[in-house]
Symmetry: C2
């Protein structure tokens, strides 16, 4: 009998040779088709006993070629170093690992060309499913994946005219509600500083701000900054905006990155919060909680987002039927009111 070797070294051919049966027979037994192929009980038992003894495990790449399954899920986020995406990636990874899947990730930089290139590489690599925070402009690629019956879950934002499984938050209500909080505190000249974007979540956030101001009869002051991951290219425009608009009494930052940079500017310019300027930000992180004064922030339900994303995807992966209609899940946020936006704190 063959001495127990390294697992990966034993092939179906080795087993066949050792037991004097054909490779096809071994293959059928390994794939659970012995009965269908009328292979004798004695042979099946002999093969199974041998496999157990030598610790044979099928080559997963060969298996992947045969079954089309790789047990790898592609996770495409805007930027893995952004704490929002890093936290979600961590939770998705944990749940995937417990279910036997590994995560291959990449950062799209919101660049449609890069994203298309990555999707094409993932398709060649036969990943089993896709979790994507999509930039605009990849509608055709997503539709192609769906036509090829690939499980795709979008999150954080959706694409118009593409009906996939989707996990989002209620962006419009979140900014509407936070802006209302500012007007209720008596602030009237409320700026909204955000990345310039046509992504669905960004448009909805802007809508919520505009809607609340319209209801109060106040004029909107919107400052849009070109999307960038470099702090300096965010700090520069915010500095110029705040220097130019000294009459503002509140500022609402539309993303965590804009908010972090905005706080830096406020500190650098020596602006007192909230007496000179009240502050609210989308997303809630340590830097906001631990600021002095603590910053009022819209907290996204990170765990619920990750849980829903992976649950929907695993359901798709484990269901043979392709006829389940797509799900759209909208989660609620929490507005954490802190010192940075309270009139009473002055």
């Amino acid at each position: 009998m063959i001495i127990k070797q390294q697992l990966k070294k034993i092939s179906i051919a080795d087993i066949a040779r050792e037991l004097h049966v054909s490779k096809t027979t071994v293959s059928f037994i390994l794939n659970g088709r012995a009965e269908e192929k009328r292979i004798g009980r004695e042979v099946v038992e002999r093969v199974q006993k041998f496999i157990e003894e030598v610790g044979y495990r099928p080559n997963p790449l060969a298996q992947s070629l045969r079954t089309g399954k790789s047990n790898i899920i592609a996770l495409m986020v805007e930027d893995i170093s952004n704490p929002f995406f890093a936290s979600i990636a961590r939770l998705i990874e944990d749940r995937a690992y417990k279910n036997g899947y590994k995560i291959i990730y990449c950062s799209t930089d919101n660049d449609p060309a890069k994203t298309r290139d990555l999707i094409s590489m993932f398709r060649e690599r036969h990943v089993d499913g896709y979790i994507i925070a999509p930039p605009e402009g990849i509608e055709d690629e997503i539709s192609a994946l769906m036509k090829a019956k690939m499980p795709v879950v979008l999150f954080d934002r959706h694409l118009n005219d593409v009906k996939t499984d989707l996990v989002e938050i209620d962006n419009m209500f979140s900014t509407y509600n936070a802006t209302k909080h500012l007007t209720e505190q008596g602030f009237k000249k409320i700026a909204y500083v955000t990345f310039s974007s046509n992504q669905s979540q960004m448009l909805a956030r802007l809508d919520g701000y505009n809607k609340a101001l319209e209801e109060s009869g106040y004029k909107p002051f919107v400052k849009e900054i070109a999307f960038n991951q470099n702090d300096d290219l965010i700090i520069g425009p915010i500095t110029a905006f705040l220097k130019k608009n000294k009459n503002l009494d509140a500022v609402f930052f539309g993303t965590n990155h804009v908010g972090t940079c905005g706080l830096q500017v406020i500190t650098d310019l020596g602006i007192q919060v909230p007496s000179d300027l009240a502050v609210v930000s989308f997303d809630d992180y340590n830097v906001f909680k631990m600021h002095s004064p603590p910053v009022t922030a819209i907290s996204q339900p990170i765990e619920a987002i990750a849980d829903n994303v992976i649950t929907v995807l695993l359901n798709r992966l484990n269901t043979s039927s392709q006829h389940i209609s797509s799900q759209s899940i909208v989660l609620k946020t929490d507005l954490h009111i802190r010192g940075s936006s309270l009139r009473a704190a002055q």
Copy 2:
């Protein structure tokens, strides 16, 4: 001639059938072995022209089985949601992508059993190389990878008795230098709060603190907390420690996570920084820079760490020779002195 179909649908068999040559012939031509196998020039040209016309691309999984290359690099960090690892992961991903590699990542939670399981899965999946911030207890698995001629780069910490490529920072000098800064400012009762760990970088940091105090003749106060990613389980022990040791005049936090939780405790207990307690932390993040007062911190050269890690790995992947001896790169940190540790600020 076959109508141009979807790329992945065309097989070697299709090409062979269409051109009336054998599959073996097509395969030899695709693998650049036409000359060796004395295949006629006319046939080679006919196959190449056809391949170009139909846009045939070899199945990367089949190719991977044949060549043993997957163009995937495994990245194993402690916790992808930790900003230190998330930032490094982002930079490594960028460099890998530009060089045609994708990153499959996972968080080890410093758990050797989980890490062993993950390495075994990655081996089965034929990843081309490994970048690992290793927990203790996986020495055998790393040695096995090296015996199998797999490129492995460790970073952030090393394993005793395992000689791999390695990228580290000078941990001992970093804490020695920061502790010296505190003693030079006149602080005498300096606590060191850290995770309990036998990892090389953690032991070196503790050594640096002890060495500086020994030189000054002051007594060390070390508080070790069980490693955990849950804030509450870090905040609890720090609160108890600071409440019990009210005579301390400075505290040095040994990791970014301990530092962030420590600042939270200091704020919650109403301790004034630096008049009641000076503060220094390992790692430098927004939460420290933007704290009031800003916190003195040891800044790791994130970009240089990522650059060195991926450069060393890519060199290994692109070099056929296995005889290059392993490299050990030690990078310097910067101590950013801020208001939290200055006597003059009182």
